[in-house]
């Protein structure tokens, strides 16, 4: 499944995320920042999963499940393009 972060979403290295269109802000951890950076361009969940598995000690099933949860939160916060 491909998806992309809405344009103009500001992400700082500290994990602070700002949506300038509606003025909402969120915080995330370093892994969240890494995922959001990948989503700046249209990316598949498979690509993101494989990049996480390369860098972290996690099995693919757990990673896919957690990524799905994370993306659901991004959608809920209106950060993903329709």
């Amino acid at each position: 499944m491909f998806m992309k972060l809405k344009k103009n979403i500001a992400i700082s290295e500290s994990g602070f995320v700002f949506n300038p269109e509606i003025g909402t802000s969120f915080t995330t951890n370093s892994l969240g920042v890494a995922i959001l950076k990948q989503l700046k361009t249209k990316t598949s969940t498979e690509e993101i999963t494989s990049s996480i598995i390369k860098s972290y000690d996690v099995d693919s099933i757990t990673c896919e499940k957690d990524l799905e949860d994370f993306i659901r939160i991004l959608e809920q916060f209106n950060l993903i393009e329709d």
């Binding site: 103009n8 500001a10 700002f18 300038p20 269109e21 509606i22 003025g23 909402t24």
Partner: protein, 350 residues
Amino acid sequence: MKNKKDITVAVTGLNAIDSPGPGVAVIRGLKESDFYNVKIVGLAYEILEPGIYMDELVDKVYQIPIPSSGFDAMLERLTYIQAKEKIDVIIPNFDAELMTFIKLKPHLNKIGIHLLIPTKEQFEERLKGNLNEFGKKHDIKVPQSESVYSINELEDALEEFDYPVVIKGKFYDAYVAHSINDAKDYFFKISAKWGAPIIIQEFIKGHEFNVTALGDGKGVMMGAVPMRKTFLTDKGKAWAGISIDDPKLLKMTNDFITKSKWGGGLEIELMKEDKSGDLFLLEINPRFPAWVYLAVGCGQNHPEMLVKLAMNEEVKPLKKYDVGKMFIRYSYDMICDLDKYEQISIHGEV
């Protein structure tokens, strides 16, 4: 900056209270002008308006008669003040006084006072009670609204609405009513304070966005900064907010100013409905909002621009502003000597 022009500007709305008037924010913008060296004449209705006691912002204060005292009383008082202060521009900051200033404008112009305010037609068109017609005319979605003048009319009108509904005063105050009894209570509460009509408005569930803007009176939007309230008081007033980048809000503001040829400051209040994402116009306030200093902080000094326009100086419209700038209000106890209170109480000026 060298060679700033000296100018005297009179400002109302010095009531920097929990539901603040815009006067102090407007003055802060003017005092930061690179173009003008501004002397501020505060015009106060009540002797405990905090702006009266802010010596660093306000140079001289006069008490003025409340709008219901009528046209003649206000003209007489302003003529007296003008003889002493040589005011160049007045910036009215209350909805309730604006009609008086609209009527006074030609008389004030004759004694050398300039104003950039909407016309009577513009002022009346955007009244809360006329919102349905306004929406149709300008092709803007508005919540269903109805004006009522009596408790019987309220009861009849409420049959056409689902709960909750919003009960609003013609100038100020708005409450969300969850039952007919709530609605009746709010009707009495608001009408006792502001008179009739009372406006019943459909409740839109969503997030509120506001725009502060300036029109030149000839159809050009001179500047606009949209904001999302991030912290509300129990009166629904913004205690904190953040500037945002939403082209739809700016386009709606620009369309309105262009079509109406609005002159002066204004605030547009909109609700973005959660379920549809549609924007609904809630109100157009015919003056700067109390949070106008956020626009100054974002790089658009609307109060300074208004004064320049009123004085026929050349002003270029501003499009850019900083996104993600926040304002946060705070309370602050000033310690004041009794003599100032005495002077404004006894002499009506200080």
